[in-house]
């Protein structure tokens, strides 16, 4: 396949400057990076002198003024460009993806990997989310990071992240996706460890990178296997031929998809590789919002959705995807119940929601998965930013009084709604959305997933009906817990009495404009974002607003070109799935789900509001019993440490000290020293006594004569 031969025959739709969408963030990175380096040099001189450079003395330094415009600026431009292209694609009725190769990236022999962009409905949705939400978070960051000495560096990393994320979703082949895949991991690493002087934070970044790399192993192997089978790695070629080349449920396709699953569990923080994500909260909060909630962590979902036809061909893998998803959803939700750190709660919540997305793509509801991905980007982005605003405010307050409390511990908060009304309102909207309360965005997306899970259980040729039934129940449980822990979070933070202390409370304040405007925008999306994909089944019912909600199943139709192959496989193998949900049609399920969620919120309300005093000091709130296990996250980190990290380290030491230094090098030394030792022994014959020499000579003669004689 030639680099320029990638273009499909009928490419009537032409995007406008698609490469620029990628390049703009890169440009931003370049500019901000240069500024960052220059700022760092100044700062370094000051650090050497024993202090800290004050960039803000006499107004803002140029290195810190420019990023404010460059960072969000390039994002805005990229977003606008994406929007233009999106709109033009809307009108184009594009069926085949638009692919363009810019240059041959790796080209040798049969293997041709082009540096190519693929634009289709799926990538367009992803791009919209990335640039859109990304832009908002950049704007938020302007306020949030304003006073940080690493301001330009921060924007450089953030821009770079967006660049790689765009590469991830726009690349036209698995290897290109892999560039983005690892690139975002890198940026995640850099941003988690943004305040690298703090060892814990630096370590968290490292952990994220290494755990991600375990997943990347799966990705690489999957690519190799695909190449082995197809001699191709482009989506167009692979996905269109997959049905004809792979045997349904065969070992090859199952292996490939399981490897992809491994990759996805790493990047999307699923069991067993989710452990890095909670630690990743060490990074600045907007980063958590953008990378660890809205975009990067959803890459796994994107990967599955992108390879939907492959997963559709591998029922076992799909079941694994769904199973891992639902387990993760439930598992993380339980942990989130008992966390005290506001960001930790959100982190586990993210893990949990990602589990839902996996469940969705695992049960073949690719659209639903992507749909939840999108709505999650809105409301989880919002939640993180809100939390950021809270932390920002808390931090200021605590900073003013030099109190060394943890600005992120919810036990130190309480009653903040008085001080931060906008944040309070927007976060409640997001909470309702994530809890799946009608008619907020999360309701439509999450509930479609749960519904589809049930549908799978009842499909005509359902591969593992019982399994899917279990999934369905677990998913419901997880959904309930979601509502519960989110409500808990909101109550502990914003309601009840203020626990910061009076002096600090005076300094609590609403977030600045640059921070609350993004909140507001995201809140709007959290409310209405779900309406783009209201199920047709639901449209005419109460839950569907009797057709008042617009755009029924728009996303479903929009993604149809991407998922049609998968759906075709599903239909041919499993029969019609969509109408086999339990309890007949859709409405009942919907109702139940929404009810469950609401119930949870109420429960939480009752439970927390019923308690007049919420203890403050940490030692007073050390949980006990089962709560303790949850508080300690099921001791998974400890488990990994004990059974994975430590053994590897110990083995490494043994390899070094014993195998390398003693056995291998010892052998080498033994040869050398042994030779010298033999030499020394041989030299002892050299006694200096002539008789002995004569004797040895004679002995030699005897030996020689015997050799010859016999």
């Amino acid at each position: 396949m030639q680099a320029d031969g990638l273009e499909p025959a009928a490419a009537e739709w032409e995007p406008i400057l698609p490469a620029l969408i990628i390049l703009l963030p890169l440009l931003g990175f370049a500019i901000n990076g240069a500024l960052a380096l220059s700022a760092a040099r100044k700062s370094a001189d000051a650090v050497r002198a024993g202090g800290e450079f004050d960039f803000f003395e006499g107004g803002r330094a140029r290195t810190h003024a420019l990023p404010t415009w460059v960072g969000p600026g390039v994002m805005l431009l990229a977003f606008l460009l994406t929007l233009v292209n999106f709109i033009s694609m809307l009108g184009a009725e594009l069926h085949d993806p638009w692919v363009h190769a810019y240059w041959a990236w790796i080209s040798t022999g049969e293997l041709e990997i082009a540096a190519a962009i693929q634009l289709d409905q799926l990538s367009m949705i992803m791009m919209m989310i990335i640039t859109g939400v990304g832009f908002l978070i950049h704007v938020f960051s302007v306020g949030y990071m304003q006073d940080d000495p690493g301001y330009p560096r921060y924007f450089a990393y953030l821009n770079l992240f967006v660049f790689f994320m765009l590469v991830l979703v726009m690349g036209a082949s698995y290897p290109i996706m892999f560039i983005g895949w690892e690139g975002v991991g890198l940026c995640s690493y850099l941003l988690i460890g943004f305040w690298f002087s703090d060892e814990a934070k630096a370590s968290a970044g490292k952990k994220a990178f290494i755990v991600n790399r375990i997943g990347d192993l799966g990705f690489l192997l999957a690519i190799f296997l695909i190449y082995l089978v197809f001699q191709e790695v482009d989506y167009v070629a692979v996905l269109s031929d997959a049905e004809s080349i792979f045997v349904y449920g065969g070992p090859a396709i199952t292996t490939v998809t399981l490897l992809f699953l491994l990759a996805a569990t790493g990047k999307s923080a699923q069991i067993p590789l989710y452990v890095w994500l909670p630690d990743a909260m060490a990074g600045p909060t907007p980063v958590s919002a953008l990378i660890h909630a809205a975009t990067m962590v959803t890459a796994g979902v994107y990967l599955v959705a992108r390879s939907s036809v492959l997963f559709a061909l591998a029922p076992l893998s799909s079941a694994m995807v769904a199973g891992i998803g639902v387990l993760t959803a439930l598992f993380a939700a339980t942990i989130a119940l008992k966390q005290q750190d506001i960001k930790k709660v959100l982190a586990y919540s993210t893990v949990s929601q990602l589990g839902f997305m996996f469940l969705g793509v695992g049960v073949g509801a690719y659209t639903a998965g992507v749909f939840h991905l999108m709505t999650h980007a809105f409301f989880k982005g919002l939640l993180f930013l809100g939390a950021g605003a809270v932390i920002h405010s808390m931090h200021h307050a605590l900073h003013h009084t030099h109190k060394d409390w943890d600005a992120q511990d919810m036990r130190n908060m309480g009653g903040l709604k008085k001080y931060m009304p906008i944040t309070w309102v927007t976060m409640w909207l997001a909470t309702l959305a994530i809890a799946g309360i009608w008619p907020f965005a999360g309701f439509f997306s999450k509930d479609e997933i749960i519904w589809m899970t049930g549908a799978m259980a009842g499909a005509e040729n359902a591969p593992y009906p019982m399994l899917y039934t279990v999934y369905w129940i677990l998913a419901l449980a997880a959904a309930m817990l979601t509502a519960f822990y989110m409500a808990r979070l909101m109550f502990m933070t914003f309601h009840g009495p203020n626990r910061t202390g009076a002096a600090e409370a005076e300094h609590l304040h609403e977030a600045p404009r640059t921070m609350w405007i993004p909140l507001a925008v995201l809140a709007t999306l959290s409310v209405f974002g779900g309406w783009i994909n209201v199920s047709e089944d639901l449209r005419e019912s109460v839950l569907g607003g009797f057709g008042l909600l617009p755009m029924g199943e728009w996303l479903h139709h929009w993604l149809e070109p991407v998922t049609e192959a998968a759906h075709r496989v599903q239909e041919s193998r499993l029969g019609e799935v969509a109408h086999s949900a339990p309890f007949g049609g859709g409405e009942v399920a919907w109702g139940i789900i929404s009810f469950v969620a609401a119930l949870a919120v109420v429960l939480a309300t009752v439970r927390l509001l019923g308690r007049s005093e919420v203890p403050v000091a940490v030692e007073d709130t050390e949980p006990t019993g089962f709560a303790r296990i949850l508080y300690n996250k099921w001791y998974v980190d400890e488990f990994y440490h004990r059974w994975v990290v430590d053994p590897v380290l110990t083995t490494s030491r043994i390899l070094w000290r014993v195998v390398d230094a003693t056995i291998i090098d010892g052998t080498v030394k033994l040869v050398g020293n042994g030779a010298r030792a033999i030499g020394w022994v041989a030299s002892l014959f050299q006694t200096g006594q002539v008789n002995r020499y004569a004797f040895l000579m004679t002995l030699g003669v005897l030996v020689i004569l015997s050799m010859i004689a016999f």
């Binding site: 030299s683 002892l684 050299q686 200096g688 006594q689 002539v690 008789n691 004569a694």
Partner: protein, 97 residues
Amino acid sequence: MLVESLVVSGMIFVIGTLGVIVRRNAIVMFLCIELQLNAVNLTFVALSRYVGIEGQVFVFFVMTVAAAEAAVGLAIIISIFRHYETVDVDKFNLLKW
């Protein structure tokens, strides 16, 4: 008489060799070497009857060599005696290992 002569000369040669191995007196060792040369002479002479007159010529050469070696060897022994006041070769072991 050929084989007998050869055997006798072989025996003398071997005795000379033994002497070099077991005696520590440099002069006696040298004498034993002379013994070896003498044995070879005997061999040459014995063989010359069967091979040709050259064998006897060789003995002539060997005697010359023996004389030359004796002159030099004894000079060396005198020379080392001046340092050590002995001709016991075991005492001469500055050089070893």
